[in-house]
Assembly symmetry: C2
Homo-oligomer: 195 residues x 2
């Protein structure tokens, strides 16, 4: 299974944002929404064998993690506004210590990056998508793989340190630095060609 | 220069849509907006050597073409809503026979697909992005190239016919059928690797 972990450095955890203001008030939630789009959407279908984790680190209730599970997802549409609405709904749920289901295929929990990485350490190789990595086209890619990347900001030193405890490799996607959602599209394309 | 021509089969030409309803009332304008995003955005910069043509065929004032010119673009943000607003602004302009500038880097005209293809016939090789084409990774790609693709619908037979007058080749991007904006990201990545 392919998994994507995207760190939203200032993304809202409280759900008190307006759907018209997902770039500003919601802490660049738009970036994460586009990552969900590229993680799951195919022409006329969804990728069912994919999971995406959004690590939300902004607002007064940080951290929270939204987990999107491809084989259960419903009501996901490709436009940003409707995905923002699903995410807001999840963030407004009352949370205890365990992960809860907010809507079909969307789960919310109080986990941060370290917790998520630990929980995925047996789920496949964890790799860091980063400009200075090995070329993704010239390396082996296991079928079970976890790609970790930042939003519009790179991972902080502390986050990189946490990641290095689990990831031995950084992979790069080309000679240019891309938006996170574009990175996911390119990584998927490379994996699709290996199947 | 790289150019992208995307056919919006029912995309609004009148500009009388709401920014909250770009999927419905605006005739899947959301698809075209995402194509603009992937045509131009890089991490922390814009691709200046790119042009994108959106052929709008919906509504009472069809056809219209919006041309986005990378080296002049300003006020373009990656979120869908703000790009929708720039496009609506362009569609509300009073048009005569010639192309007019709606805002920096965004032009609007009464041209349809045939007119646009004719105008580009000297601008580089015109290729059709299509599932049944040659693998883009295993073929020569000129530096000056025009990629033509549909929105969430394939080109109609009539549109394919018009395209075949200009395009000798169809290129495919992988073993799976992708969303149009994802196609643009993958095509860019391949071209970036050839530079």
């Amino acid at each position: 299974m392919r998994r994507f972990v995207i760190v939203g450095h200032r993304a809202s955890t409280t759900g008190d944002f307006k759907l018209d203001d997902i770039c500003g008030g919601a802490g660049r939630l738009d970036v994460l929404i586009r990552c969900i789009n590229s993680s799951f959407f195919l022409s006329h279908s969804l990728r069912r064998d994919v999971e995406a984790y959004l690590i939300l680190q902004g607002g007064d209730d940080a951290p929270k993690t939204l987990r999107f599970k491809g084989d259960e997802l419903r009501y996901l549409n490709p436009d940003e506004r409707s995905t923002a609405s699903l995410m807001r709904n999840a963030l407004l749920k009352k949370l205890s210590d365990s992960e809860i289901k907010a809507s079909p295929g969307i789960y919310v929990s109080r986990r941060g990056l370290r917790d998520v990485l630990s929980s995925l350490s047996e789920s496949g190789e964890i790799v860091y998508l980063k400009e200075e990595g090995e070329d993704i086209r010239r390396t082996e890619l296991p079928e079970d793989i976890v790609f970790v990347l930042g939003d519009d900001r790179d991972l902080s030193e502390e986050e990189e340190q946490a990641l290095k405890e689990h990831a031995d490799r950084s992979l790069c996607l080309g000679p240019i630095s891309y938006h996170s959602d574009h990175c996911i599209t390119i990584a998927h394309n490379e994996m699709d060609r290996r199947v």
